[in-house]
């Protein structure tokens, strides 16, 4: 399950600053796609896809990338790990793209919607929690501990 914790820990000394510590779940994220593009994707390609700079798969078919909403914690983790910026920090980039008629990556409201869309739409790519996958879709890459991974991380979904 996806868990987000925000913790304020205060030290006893009144002169010390109380740090605000927050972190996202340690459950990895799976980058999923419609069948047929396994072993094709590298991290650099993932960045370009979600910046809408890479529009085609190797076979020439159109890439249909989908995001989760900015309010979804998975979106924040994915954005920071892949794009190196939060969705808010990406606003200036998308403003520049808007000036050239390029819209941001399309957004679906839930992981369930992403899985169904990716399973049914040729060329589709999205991301979901690793342990939430229940549809037969290809996993191309993983995001864990703030990094994009080429191989499946060792994670027990049953804990």
């Amino acid at each position: 399950m996806l868990r987000i914790y925000t913790v304020q820990s205060c030290l006893l000394a009144s002169l010390m600053i109380c740090p605000l510590i927050s972190w996202a779940t340690d459950e990895p994220i799976a980058v999923v796609a419609y069948a047929g593009h396994t072993n094709e994707l590298k991290k650099e390609d993932l960045v370009r896809i979600f910046k809408r700079k890479k529009l085609f798969w190797q076979d020439g078919s159109r890439i249909h990338a989908v995001n989760l909403p900015v309010t979804n914690p998975l979106r924040l983790v994915f954005s920071q790990a892949v794009l190196g910026a939060t969705p808010n920090e990406m606003a200036a980039y998308w403003n520049d793209q808007y000036f050239h008629g390029i819209s941001p990556t399309f957004v679906l409201s839930s992981e369930e919607a992403v899985m169904r869309f990716v399973a049914d739409t040729p060329g589709a790519i999205g991301y979901v929690s690793l342990c939430n996958i229940h549809t037969k879709i290809d996993v191309l890459l993983w995001v864990g501990a703030g990094h994009v991974l080429d191989s499946a991380p060792d994670y027990d979904c049953h804990k």
Binding site: A92, F99, S109, E112, D120, A124
Partner: protein, 342 residues
């Protein structure tokens, strides 16, 4: 115009209740308005501003300086369409609250793209001249200052009517964004104070030096209309951009040689720095140099300003600038503006 739906086809069953489209896909200021079922999206940007010459306090102007309408279309295939109609100086009030007549309308951009692949795309129509960095992203809400660097405004025509190839290719272990263009016909919808290309060829390439910075190089050779006595020009330029955690450094330098040589050669540069003062406040400084011997002008311009990002698509700006030579084509003084995307 053939209309296609740009939205991907969602093939999920109706009983899944949590598959509604997110509000991010709905309209908000700065996102453009999508016309459902057509693939067309309309939007634009506007600027309201004030300018005062510090040496002549009575010469103050305020007005709707810029109003641009953007329209683009993208379907499921390889075609893409874009247009920009630019209304300039729609309403200008001078010191005596007199309405001055400077309004003009210009077809800033109108082109179609064929996206053959990520490495190779084709564009035909009227588009922004890919020289340097500022010119291709010169919308007021995207720039930190009200005024524009001199070399990006006067050294070359800001638009090309013709064809272009562009894409991204691997080189030197990195990815290089390139563009190559050519024009040999009259400019579409020329703005009144621009000398458009008569015949032009050029290229621009950008390489990401690292995650924070980009380096670009431009080359162009061209003739301009209404300058038949000066038959041929060549331009070589470099541009650089670095940003991290809200801090920015951008710079461009260019040298333009003329077939007549000597006094008709021009050179110039600008260097701009941005410092985040808070989550929304920014400090900007810029130095410019522009040498135009034929006009007996060698201008050094110093600018300092602040900007407040009210929303992601709305920027409030204030700046004061001083040029070492009082040239009529140099805008300096105290300028403020509100720029917004819609």
């Amino acid at each position: 115009m053939i209309l296609f739906s740009a939205a991907p086809h969602f093939a999920w069953s109706d009983d899944v209740t949590n598959t509604t489209v997110s509000s991010e896909n709905e309209y908000w200021p700065g996102s453009g308005l999508e016309i459902p079922g057509t693939g067309f999206k309309i939007g634009g940007y506007a600027t309201v501003g004030n300018r005062a010459d510090l040496s002549q306090p009575q010469s103050r102007e305020f007005g709707l300086n810029d109003f641009s309408l953007l329209m683009h279309w993208e379907g499921e295939g390889k075609l893409r369409f874009f247009s920009e109609l630019d209304f300039q100086q729609l309403l200008t009030l001078d010191q005596g609250s007199n309405i001055t007549q400077h309004a003009s309308v210009d077809l800033e951009r109108l082109y179609a793209d064929y996206m053959y692949s990520d490495k190779l795309n084709f564009r035909a129509g009227k588009f922004l001249t890919p020289i340097g960095r500022w010119n291709v992203i010169h919308a007021s809400p995207l720039e930190w200052t009200t005024s524009r660097p001199l070399i990006t405004e006067y050294m070359f025509p800001t638009n090309v009517t013709g064809g272009m190839v562009f894409g991204t290719v691997p080189a030197l272990g990195k990815e290089v964004d390139y563009s190559g263009y050519a024009s040999s016909q009259t400019d579409w919808g020329t703005a009144p104070n621009v000398e458009p290309f008569n015949d032009a060829r050029g290229m621009h390439a950008i390489i990401s030096v690292n995650d924070d910075s980009e380096l670009g190089v431009s080359f162009a050779e061209f003739d301009q209309q209404n300058t038949t006595f000066e038959p041929h020009k060549e331009l070589l330029g470099l541009d650089y951009y670095w940003s991290r955690n809200g801090y920015e450094i951008s710079a461009e330098l260019a040298y333009r040689s003329s077939g007549l040589g000597g006094l008709y050669n021009e050179s110039g540069l600008y260097v701009q720095g941005v410092i985040p003062l808070s989550n929304r406040w920014y400090a900007i400084s810029r130095y410019e140099y522009y040498d135009r011997p034929v006009l007996q002008a060698s201008v050094n311009l110093f600018l300092a300003g602040v900007a407040f990002r009210l929303t992601p698509g709305t920027l409030l700006k204030a700046e004061v600038s001083h040029a070492t030579q009082n040239q009529p084509w140099v805008t300096d003084g105290f300028l403020t503006s509100i720029a917004l995307l819609f």
